[in-house]
Assembly symmetry: D2
Homo-oligomer: 478 residues x 4
Amino acid sequence: MALRTAAEYLAGLNDAREIYYRGERVRNVVGHPELGIAARHAAIDFEMAHNPIYRDLAVHRAGSDEYSAYYRVPRNVQDLLSRSKLIEAGTAEGATLVLLIKEIGTDALFALKRVLGRTGEAESIQRIENFYTHCRDHDLAMAVAQTDVKGDRGKRPSEQSDPDMYVRVVEKRADGIIVCGAKIHTSCTPYVDEVIVLPSRSMGPGDEAWSLAFAVPVATPGLRLYASDYLHGADDPFTRPISTKHKMVETLTVFDHVFVPWDRVFYVDRPGLAGATALTFVEFHRFTAVSYKLPLLDAIVGAGIAIAKANGIDRAGHVRDKLTWLGGYAETVRGLTELAALRCKVENGVAYPDVFTTNMAKWTFAREFHQAIETLQDLAGGLLVTGPGGMDWNSPEIRPVLEKYLPGAWAADRRMAVMNLISDLTTRLYGGYQAVLAVHAEGSIEAEKMAMFRAYDPTRSVNFAMRLAGLDTHTTAK
Amino acid sequence: MALRTAAEYLAGLNDAREIYYRGERVRNVVGHPELGIAARHAAIDFEMAHNPIYRDLAVHRAGSDEYSAYYRVPRNVQDLLSRSKLIEAGTAEGATLVLLIKEIGTDALFALKRVLGRTGEAESIQRIENFYTHCRDHDLAMAVAQTDVKGDRGKRPSEQSDPDMYVRVVEKRADGIIVCGAKIHTSCTPYVDEVIVLPSRSMGPGDEAWSLAFAVPVATPGLRLYASDYLHGADDPFTRPISTKHKMVETLTVFDHVFVPWDRVFYVDRPGLAGATALTFVEFHRFTAVSYKLPLLDAIVGAGIAIAKANGIDRAGHVRDKLTWLGGYAETVRGLTELAALRCKVENGVAYPDVFTTNMAKWTFAREFHQAIETLQDLAGGLLVTGPGGMDWNSPEIRPVLEKYLPGAWAADRRMAVMNLISDLTTRLYGGYQAVLAVHAEGSIEAEKMAMFRAYDPTRSVNFAMRLAGLDTHTTAK
Amino acid sequence: MALRTAAEYLAGLNDAREIYYRGERVRNVVGHPELGIAARHAAIDFEMAHNPIYRDLAVHRAGSDEYSAYYRVPRNVQDLLSRSKLIEAGTAEGATLVLLIKEIGTDALFALKRVLGRTGEAESIQRIENFYTHCRDHDLAMAVAQTDVKGDRGKRPSEQSDPDMYVRVVEKRADGIIVCGAKIHTSCTPYVDEVIVLPSRSMGPGDEAWSLAFAVPVATPGLRLYASDYLHGADDPFTRPISTKHKMVETLTVFDHVFVPWDRVFYVDRPGLAGATALTFVEFHRFTAVSYKLPLLDAIVGAGIAIAKANGIDRAGHVRDKLTWLGGYAETVRGLTELAALRCKVENGVAYPDVFTTNMAKWTFAREFHQAIETLQDLAGGLLVTGPGGMDWNSPEIRPVLEKYLPGAWAADRRMAVMNLISDLTTRLYGGYQAVLAVHAEGSIEAEKMAMFRAYDPTRSVNFAMRLAGLDTHTTAK
Amino acid sequence: MALRTAAEYLAGLNDAREIYYRGERVRNVVGHPELGIAARHAAIDFEMAHNPIYRDLAVHRAGSDEYSAYYRVPRNVQDLLSRSKLIEAGTAEGATLVLLIKEIGTDALFALKRVLGRTGEAESIQRIENFYTHCRDHDLAMAVAQTDVKGDRGKRPSEQSDPDMYVRVVEKRADGIIVCGAKIHTSCTPYVDEVIVLPSRSMGPGDEAWSLAFAVPVATPGLRLYASDYLHGADDPFTRPISTKHKMVETLTVFDHVFVPWDRVFYVDRPGLAGATALTFVEFHRFTAVSYKLPLLDAIVGAGIAIAKANGIDRAGHVRDKLTWLGGYAETVRGLTELAALRCKVENGVAYPDVFTTNMAKWTFAREFHQAIETLQDLAGGLLVTGPGGMDWNSPEIRPVLEKYLPGAWAADRRMAVMNLISDLTTRLYGGYQAVLAVHAEGSIEAEKMAMFRAYDPTRSVNFAMRLAGLDTHTTAK
């Protein structure tokens, strides 16, 4: 019964979920003028599974069985490469915006499988297996609520003055648990079926109540979604060719005494599992991230080349230098992403990309993204923020003036199409959204550096240096 | 009769000027819901002249005579420092957005005085002097239309397939000239009194018709302004504390057989003066630019410090490192700006800032601005693009949820106020506007580098190197 | 008869070769106090082939046949990976200094095979095949003389005032040709068996005489080697643990009417082949380069970690940040090198690494190398240039003073061993040598950028951008 | 009796001082083949005072009194600018190497005057005044021993396992004190008259014995100087035009029960003064540093321009770009240095440069120096490390070969003179010396960043940001 259609997916969102947007309760997500755009963007996931072009990539076949390839548990290099390609293809169909209604959820499921697998606790292992099978077989869309609102960054969960700064269990009952607290930056919550909740940090003694992982349907009583309107108002497809059609929505995700039955509780009161879950999750999720960044990078390089031609400056030395840098930047990220898969490790039969290489790819992407934006804006010109809008372009009186005065080496309509693509990608709401995501999504640059520091194996390099210095290598650690 | 009030200035905009915005003719600039914001932002210029706090800085007194200090012809270091301070103060009052209705116009007037002064041609000198006195004594607001639409960047004006790609004279009559063509990126045109038109590049033989400088009132027949709606729609003061109240508007400025009487024609048919005008203008205008960038830099540094405290991360080593970099970046620009004035040169009694130092300040500002943005976004967090909007904040039902869940080391209202300031400065339309201006306004980074290369005096350094190498210095050039 | 011993190799250098060093003719290379160090460094190549640890890597076996694995013509990914590993292992044995007596020569041979293979000219193909077999079967050491002295960089070979600025044919005889001119930067020439001479640039009509490739034994009459003494005088193994034992020598390689028999002339008078040879050669040679840079990078990272521990600062946040950067830098180069092999192409049965990826690896290495040096010096401290020398250390009177006063978290002897390793790697003659090689060897950074620009395939990225902009992709080029 | 001649200065070094170099005691510094070069380099200080070209800059006249201008206590902007110019001129005469036999000593004296002035303790104030007058009136040369050997970086002086890791008082007697311990990186010690000893860090309770400042003549019994031979062996003026004639020497400076009479003890047992002294000293010394870096920067820029011309590549776009960057880098440091003086503060009549601006200048210099080196090496070419040596150049047989084959756009002799200047500046021992000094001398880059963080006044920027955010500024600190 897997492989729903886009229509089935959208129909499934029509339930009692409690969403607030711009100060008001939203009763019908799909019918909402802005949230509906996001839901239909996400629905591309289901369209691809039925599109002959993508079937091989998007659908896993095992005998007569078929399910969404996002749910395929990676077993080897090839599975990870295919997963990366699928995420990349979905994002390209999404016009540089990731779909993210199965990517992140399966990242969480694979991580929980690995973490619980390490415990050898049969019941927990069965619960995550059952939940995974449920999601896969019903072709469900999932959000992952991980980042807690945190309160005072200098204090652990149990030290906060308000205990709800991290999501926690407030009551354990025979049939399940009651949870309170809030998560932030939860992507796609208003238009998925399930929310998987993971700890966002390592926990210590005393943090038991905050050490839990579980999943609930979005329409669970007490679960309230306060959706950000950051991308509100992008209504001009002339100047915003991407963002008028593609949108993602994040929520403040509040758990107000939400009941979770035991079969949805993957663990609770387990400080020892919290940090492991957080780390294992990002081992998958940063690989997802660098995979879904590739179309954005392609768009930046491609738009850079196109606007250089459209402006008639593509033969200038400094322009070639900038295009070369852009290409080198983008392809370094792509290369390291591929290599992270090629160097994968396997734990309990689950393949995961090499941690150092994945983080290196993400770090490279993140720390040079703003320079890429600057470079692209440099190539494009001031018209990015001083040009005409769609109402001008559509005016029969004004259009001829613009057509006369705005050509470069390309005619005005073609030049402005590329110019506006760049404006959408780099200067307006969507541009700001991508810029901040580059710095913060899937962990900040500092988090990536810490992950690299931890994952780096110094054996070869330190031993070599010690040998060159004429020192015993076995005493290095001294 | 100088020193108009803001009301007088705004009233003066009510004339036959021909403005188009979002596809429609605008009959009343001040009353327009969006252009009116820009006009009232510009009116701060006039308010300051009547504000006791700023009178000394904003008003020049010569005997019983008084006029706007923007019009004071700089004679020495002190005049340039005062001018810089005035521009900085105006921009700070404008909440990081320059006012620019006298700054750029006087930059152009001072440049024309210097360039025409070199010719020794009494009539031209008198014309510019008369026009300057007219503007000064009537306390007029001015735009400068310089950047031509350019068409094919590889061709000179006379080589373009459409001769209107650069503004040109199409007819010379007894009483004046007729001009055609279009300028782009003209700031503030809809709400100034006069438009000064300058060449945007050096001209050669054959480019006579495009080698002209003149000025016309905005309401001159045939002058049509197509205003960009880039900043359209910033209607939520919660998330956009600056840009809902402050706005600048650029136009595509079309000259459709505009008549210019001879006393407004500073020169025509003078290829030899075109490049000189363009270069001399930016000698003043880049100094204006670095002066008006200072409040933006202060806002970035100050917001960085504030959000680090609000988030409770201000004691982390990497945070201090980032704040130090931000401060060093901002203060290098400020220091070099001050130094450009201190090292000024004087031509024909007009003081102008040191060209190399001015460009070095601008280059420093421009090439590291995107890194500053990244750093500020890094300090702030993902909430920049996933946070609540004003309609949420104003909802009595939702506000308590936000107040509970969004505090850091500061309460949620104070933290969100700083967060939204940063979001406005770096991620939304206004953020994109400032980012592109950093790269392109007052000349691109490449243009600044070329100006630095030309202005660098290699004598000291090359002679020293030659002496160290044991070589004659007089043969260096060989 | 392949697989000579180191002693056989060194004995083979005793011939009539004409070498000048520090103003004097050198009659016995191996016995020379400085050139002998370089020759014995190169001899590591032969030692490895007889070392059981390296035999699998260093020796190619085909049936009963055995030859040095450098001569193995790469046919697939695995061959290229093995070649890279061999070059890396040789350089590690060389203590960060490449051996380069077969690496570069086989790069040249493989390139000539590909280039001549394209011509389909049986005689030329046979000549290169014969020469390759000769070198392989006699286990010869080879230098490649490519970079011409060039004279006026703005002129082509035929335009130079002195025609000898590029190596050229001055006479064609029945038995061979006579060549004149000089090459610069030729590595290892004094202690190899053969010199392969390639054009250093593309040639055009009129450049026929300069369009040739050939090979001669070093001891050919008229071939004169003027060896650089740049690394002269490294005589203190305490402060120079690497460079007192390992050395490479470059020559100005002068051809004064050198006779080359026809079977050693791969082509002559072929402007069309010159540029192709130069480009094809660097396709192999930059892959060699990034392979041999890896031990240097390992040494830098490893020494950075070790000195941080020795100094007792390894827990400081900024130190971890710097070590992370160093690791990320080094591993990006390593990763891209591996990927260049994994993405190889095959021409006429010869596998060559992906050109864009190879150049990206080299570009990454080169443009950030000086930052790595700065970082390492930062971690080490001023003692790099103010510390004691070996004569102090060896003085029974002084050593106790040094041992008392120079410990950090490690004892003085261990700390100084790492400190001096870093000093040798970054501040003294060898440090300068590696720094300049990073910028210039195997082509400058600008050359790498040009290669990247040419090798970048814009199809995917430009098509994607055009699609996002709503434009036909087939008209991009317009 | 001030204003000694160079001969008098050199004669004064002939005393019982205890110096070790390359494992041996040096009895005659001036006559030593290597240390003598350093002493004569330092003697340039005295030559300048008698050179009519420099008298106005180098000599202070007060009535009939004359003394070295280094000793002039700065009272205002002009004094600081003159001091900076004098240091710059001395370093230019020293061919990019600072003289440093009065610069650093007066930095220490001015700092002690300020710090002791704050205490109001008449006796201490008199002691420093007497010592200052003594040095000034006898025109003495001074070293400053500040950096302790430190041992375990994680422990305070009193916590070290060996108490001699920081210089300390071991006995207080009626006539003076006995001190033990060692300083490192002490510049010029072997060829100065006096050594001033300052604490290198802040001290706390328990650190009394290490909290002292004093001065002794170099020839004091128990004071032993172990000179580094890092710059040993620069004997070829062809390839090392600077470093064969100019040299500076650092010592490990050991105090083995050195007696200091009370009138040379500025304070002892004063933890409260230790940190203040260290900070106040660098307020002067970093200004000295940026002043003496200017000739090095000029040499880099000038050599860059010269070699671009010599190589014939000065018209290439990327070359102009690099030269522009070099000029911008150097002139930013120069500009900020000048500004640090212009913004000086005055304490007790002693003017000192603005702390933030001084550190900003030093930080700019230090963090981009390696990029400047890379850029210069890029412009020069591989010949920096593969070129001929002086013995080749002086050989009548070889010189003609080099002259024929090594010209570019300039003849070989002129091109090689510039090439070798760059090689000396960037690749050999002297290049390494300058590179490490850039990172570590006068405090590391991290120390400069900490100084900037502390010196930054956030009032203006934070208040502005708070106002923009609509928040009270007086609650910022909350």
